[in-house]
Symmetry: C2
Subunit: 438 residues, 2 copies
């Protein structure tokens, strides 16, 4: 089947990331969507070609975004320019021409979403905006579909990575706001003009969208209360910690008997809550539904590839809708049935993991060295080793070890040799260890 032809507006951070993801994962995306995605045209005022992997796959690059929108070959417009204008005009024109739209533009949706969605409805086209809130976290899909059974009671989100990075550094290192902001700007986490991030405007755009999805109200950004973190002082961060709280910049949408609360402000939350432990530039959204209870969605809220992940997910949604009959829209096992690969499932002998080991060894010189040497002979590196105190009158002591990653088959061989030692009592307790590092 012919690939779906898309037109890309903007080749900045997210635009470049979208090209990279569509290139790098083209095969896998097609196995899922049932059809390829071709970037037929792109428009950008300026871009750094050398930093965009896959740029050679773009059919044609120009600087006229309206020309891309008007191109009758293009079925889907991906708007990654940002800002209100000309993004709004481009999106409305694409819709008028009967094209589907995918956008990452939270400001545009928060301010003009009601108008845009009404136009899309009239034209029977889709407008995807998963990337507009919390980057790569599929929170819009969760709210619109995954939690559709629930009466949503409230939402609380860390939905601005820059602000969360600043508050995390202030807490971890006792630093001042101004000091950390400067570092964030140097590291590229904060813009030269950080107002949108630190004063909560960016978060308010996103909260406006979440509030509508949760409560079935029109988008009304102008009614969202917004208070930034620039007034937070190091001593308040410290006092809050003493009391068992952390300060986070939260967007909160809550349903009350009298109406809806929509507010972005610094907030103390108990340090044992999972969301209180979301640190650095990461985002998380906590949603309380009456049936499901609290659920939390965590991930990268910004950045080229995470945001592109959401843009391309919306594209797959559009492609699936254009390609299959409605009841086969999403394949049962995510990939199209004829695209399932019979990749081997490994036996445990072949699996590589790290280990926690505990054994009872004779409390004598040379015993630990002998055990370490058996592990070494099997290519197993020891990360940590602790000999515990012997019990009253005991001749053997517990020896606890952490190892680096190794094939389980090798570990089994090594453990058989260790258990055969006369100086080792009983069998070795072995629990696998995973760092789950990103």
């Amino acid at each position: 089947m012919e690939p779906v032809k898309i037109g890309l507006l903007g080749l900045g951070t997210v635009g470049g990331g979208t090209v990279t993801v569509l290139t790098r994962n083209a095969g896998e995306i097609e196995r899922r969507a049932g059809r390829g995605i071709e970037i037929a045209r792109a428009a950008a005022r300026e871009y750094r070609a050398e930093s965009i992997r896959g740029i050679e796959r773009i059919g044609q690059i120009g600087d006229d975004a309206f020309a891309v929108v008007e191109d009758p070959e293009i079925q889907v417009i991906v708007e990654l320019i940002g800002g209100y204008s000309p993004a709004k005009e481009l999106v409305l024109r694409a819709i008028a021409l009967g094209k589907h739209v995918v956008t990452a533009n939270k400001a545009l949706i928060a301010r003009h979403g009601n108008e845009i969605f009404a136009a899309a409805r009239d034209q029977g086209v889709m407008v995807g905006f998963e990337a507009a809130v919390a980057g790569g976290i599929p929170i819009i899909k969760a709210l619109r579909e995954g939690l559709a059974a629930n009466h949503i009671e409230w939402i609380a989100g860390i939905i601005n990575g820059t602000g969360n990075f600043i508050l995390t550094e202030m807490r971890d290192k006792g630093r001042d706001f101004a000091d950390v902001l400067k570092e964030a700007q140097q590291r590229g986490y904060a813009e030269a003009d950080p107002t949108f991030d630190v004063e909560g405007i960016d978060a308010a755009h996103k909260l406006t969208i979440l509030g509508s999805l949760a409560f079935g109200i029109p988008l009304q950004f102008e009614r969202c209360y917004t208070e930034g973190i620039s007034g937070i002082q190091a001593q308040d961060v410290a006092y809050a910690a003493e009391l068992g709280y952390r300060i986070k910049h939260l967007g909160i949408a809550r349903r009350c008997p009298e109406g809806i609360e929509l507010r972005v402000h610094p907030t103390l939350i108990p340090h044992r809550r999972l969301i209180a432990n979301v640190d650095g530039v990461m985002n998380a959204v906590l949603v309380k539904g009456d049936a499901v209870g609290p659920t939390l969605y965590y991930g990268a809220g910004a950045g080229a590839l995470p945001t592109a992940s959401a843009v391309v997910a919306d594209l797959v949604d559009v492609v699936r809708a254009l390609t299959t009959d409605p009841t086969n829209r999403v394949p049962h096992l995510a990939f199209q049935p004829d695209e399932l690969h019979d990749t081997a499932v490994l036996t445990m002998d072949q699996v590589e993991t790290a280990y926690y080991l505990r054994l009872m060894a004779l409390d004598e010189p040379g015993v630990m060295a002998r055990i370490a040497s058996i592990l070494g002979d099997h290519g197993i590196s020891i990360e940590a080793i602790q000999q515990k105190e012997p019990g009253e009158g005991e001749t053997h002591v517990p020896l606890v070890m952490l190892t680096r990653r190794v094939r389980e088959g090798r570990m089994n061989d090594a453990l058989a040799q260790i258990e055969a030692l006369e100086t080792v009592q009983g069998s070795v307790v072995r629990i696998r260890l995973e760092t789950l590092a990103g």
Copy 2:
């Protein structure tokens, strides 16, 4: 438009929960789905009518599940019996009759999913199974749709609440496995025969499904390695903690150059990872995609209403597909456009929240009492109060307070009076506080 008529097989925990959710949230679900859902028939061997809210909404209740499946009025079969047989025969018969199916049956999908999905594909019907993995967490939708742009590298999940409750209690209280298991059984978290939960079979069913969705491989439960937690000893939990780790019963699916790892076993993970802090009966799934990076999905993995939340989400998916044209399947703002309500957005004066307050007060008798009395006059309860040490040669000391929830308008009035006191220096620092309690 006529409601969609569904037939419910099973009125146990999840079946009862599904009736309750469909009853309690009927209005909101219809506003989202665009059409009502009618439980035209149900079949159950035995059930406790008095404990099922909304049971009177079921058109007809009998004990013959096949009769429900055969009923030509029924468009969607909801299978909540569990186990392999007759669930498999019922589901296959429903598919053969061209009916859509929603099921929470992880064992059935893990063992017979390949056959069931092939039949569904031939008949052009949908089989929803969101409830089969991690209860109310929409992890299947996230993997199949939300993360469709990604090359998934690995998944690690706490996908059995019983096991996680036991390990959490063992760590928090230094208790033994057998001791905690007994309590879990008394509290209804664990079955009389706990084998499925504590030996990892239930988790292996779920991991089999997650692995297929992530990597595009057929379901192959028999190749999933399964090791339970019944051998975990209290001393290993303690030693792991000393080394900075927690032991969790993880399901891990990983893509390696040689093939796919599918394994369920106790695992040490660094205590600072978010997933290491998922405690009690809660579930969480951590997914690492090449574009999005790590994302985490957290919530209740079992229970009547959380599981029903996923069952009904699948029903809404089916209803939307049956009702609208594909491009309008999901309304942009979750609710059908003519179902948006213009609920008032509250001003901050109307918002109720708790507060952290800090002020500089004269270090003299009676000052704190005066402040407390102003707060009391405005109906503001003090939760905690701390007077800090004065700085060298300072006459004023920092006073830190936490309050209970109160309308912001009242707080503003109280703060104006406090700031007007001669004994208080400068303005009061005020940061809102939310407990985010479930």
